[in-house]
Each structure stands twice: as structure tokens, then as C-alpha cells.
Symmetry: C2
Subunit: 122 residues, 2 copies
DNA sequence: TTGACATATTCCCATATAAGAATGTAATTT
DNA sequence: AAATTACATTCTTATATGGGAATATGTCAA
């Protein structure tokens, strides 16, 4: 079996850096394809293809106006990703506090070496 | 150019569902490879390969003990993902409030139809 | 040393990419 | 209708994948 399609879910879709750029660009305001091309200096077909992937997984929405198509990011679709990553938050907090503890222990050691047994308070 | 390597960053690495499972499993406690194989019912070579990818991008750490290797997830490495997704939080909040507004407007309409012009307060 | 156990690596294969180039399609203007 | 503008699709190509099977490596035990 090969790698899962980029269109299989939001996780695969946002693995591509340009698609993340596009999402950020379209989060603030809807934009026609040409603006994305200009703003991110990518080729037009490339942008259309990336937008196709993003549309497929619901990460962007389109609105047509004459010969322009306005795309905007559908932030809701990014939420599952945020939530999945969020389930690890308590773990990285623990890790951080362990790192802190160790750092503090080391600092203490260093202190007791440089200042042998003089004036423990302060 | 082909798709970026799964080992190019955390985004690509976690795009694979089994690797996300492994990360969740190893978040609570370090585990030898055999436990992962049993818990997720995957083939051992498959697990080793996934662990290789995760190790490459710093998503897991290893400790050897005799002929066992204990893996644990390095939650810190998931943080950038959480933070990137988090930059869209205010947008999905806005979207939600818009949806709410619309729902409330509709409810109001429905109400004014069923209760024509009777007692607007309350 | 031999053997058993735990994990890693290699090879093969079907599949999917992303970029680039070229072409297609749809809507608008002249 | 012809030309133009704005996007989308198709084709090719180099490259990477994940699973399965087989094999290699490393560590301990008898």
C-alpha cells in the first residue's frame, strides 16, 4: 500500500507547506485564485491543484463571482487537528516541569559548589 | 517533485493514522516495541518502521534496556502542530458565532410566524 | 557456542504524489 | 463572434511511500 491520499483527511492535506500557507492567507479574507498566485508567488496551476485538495477535505470554501472564484478557509475543519494535538498538552507541560526541576537542581548544585556553605538563604 | 518525505517534519509524520495511534499509546507511558505490536495489532516490522519515522522527527525517544527498547512520545514535538492549528482558533470562533446568529434569526422568524404579533417581549 | 527472543533492515510492488508544460473551459468584453 | 481574462484539468516524470515477506542484528540464557 502506498501513502494515503492527500485528500484522505485534513492531516494529510496540511502536511504540504504550501497548503498551510494558502490556508493562512485565506483565513483573514476570501480571495480570488490570482491573488494567491501573486501573494505566494506560485504557478497558477499549482495553486488550483492545492485548492482542489483543500476543497476536497473541506478546508476551504468557494464562491463564484463572474469569472473569479473567491476562496476562504473553513477554520472549523482545522479544529480536529488542534484537538488531537491538544490531547498531548498535559504531557508537554509535565515534560517542561521536569526540565525545570532538573535545571533548578543543577542550578542549586552549581551554587553550592561556587558558594560552599556560605549564607544558604537569599 | 514528489511529496515531501514523511520524515521531513512533524506535520508529515503525523499524517499517517497508525503513527498517531502509536503516539497516543506512548504518551502515557514508555513501552517496548512488542507491546505496541500487541496493543495496536500491527506487524512488528511495520511498527519498527513507523517508530523509525517518528524518531527521525523527534516525536519519540528511545531507551534501551537489555534486548528491549522502550519508546515514549516526546510531546514537545507535537506542540508546533498545536500552535499552528491554534492560529485559526479565532476564525472558527467567529464562524460559530455567525452560525449561531443565523440560527437565532431563523428561530425568531419561525416564532413570529407561529405567534404573529402577540407579546413581543419575553 | 548454540539457541531463543526482541527489534531493525532490506527488497519488492502498487500507488500516489507535486512540479512543469500544455491544453481545456467558462465568463466577460469588444 | 473573436479576443481576453480567470481558473481548472491533463499529461509526464522523478520520487517516496507503506505493507508483506524474508532476513539481519543485537542481547541474553543455557
Amino acid at each position: 500500500m502506498a501513502r494515503a491520499a492527500t485528500t484522505s483527511d485534513a492531516f494529510n492535506a496540511v502536511a504540504e507547506p504550501r497548503r498551510r500557507q494558502i490556508l493562512s492567507y485565506l483565513a483573514l479574507q476570501e480571495r480570488p485564485v490570482g491573488d494567491i498566485v501573486a501573494a505566494l508567488s506560485l504557478d497558477q496551476p499549482s495553486v488550483s491543484k492545492h485548492l482542489g485538495v483543500l476543497r476536497n477535505v473541506g478546508l476551504v470554501r468557494v464562491r463564484r463571482d463572474g469569472r473569479h472564484k473567491f476562496y476562504r478557509t473553513n477554520a472549523e475543519a482545522i479544529r480536529p487537528l488542534h484537538e488531537w494535538a491538544g490531547t498531548f498538552e498535559r504531557f508537554w507541560r509535565h515534560q517542561l516541569s521536569r526540565v525545570k526541576e532538573i535545571a533548578e537542581e543543577k542550578a542549586k548544585e552549581a551554587q553550592s559548589i561556587s558558594k560552599p556553605v556560605v549564607d544558604p538563604q537569599i
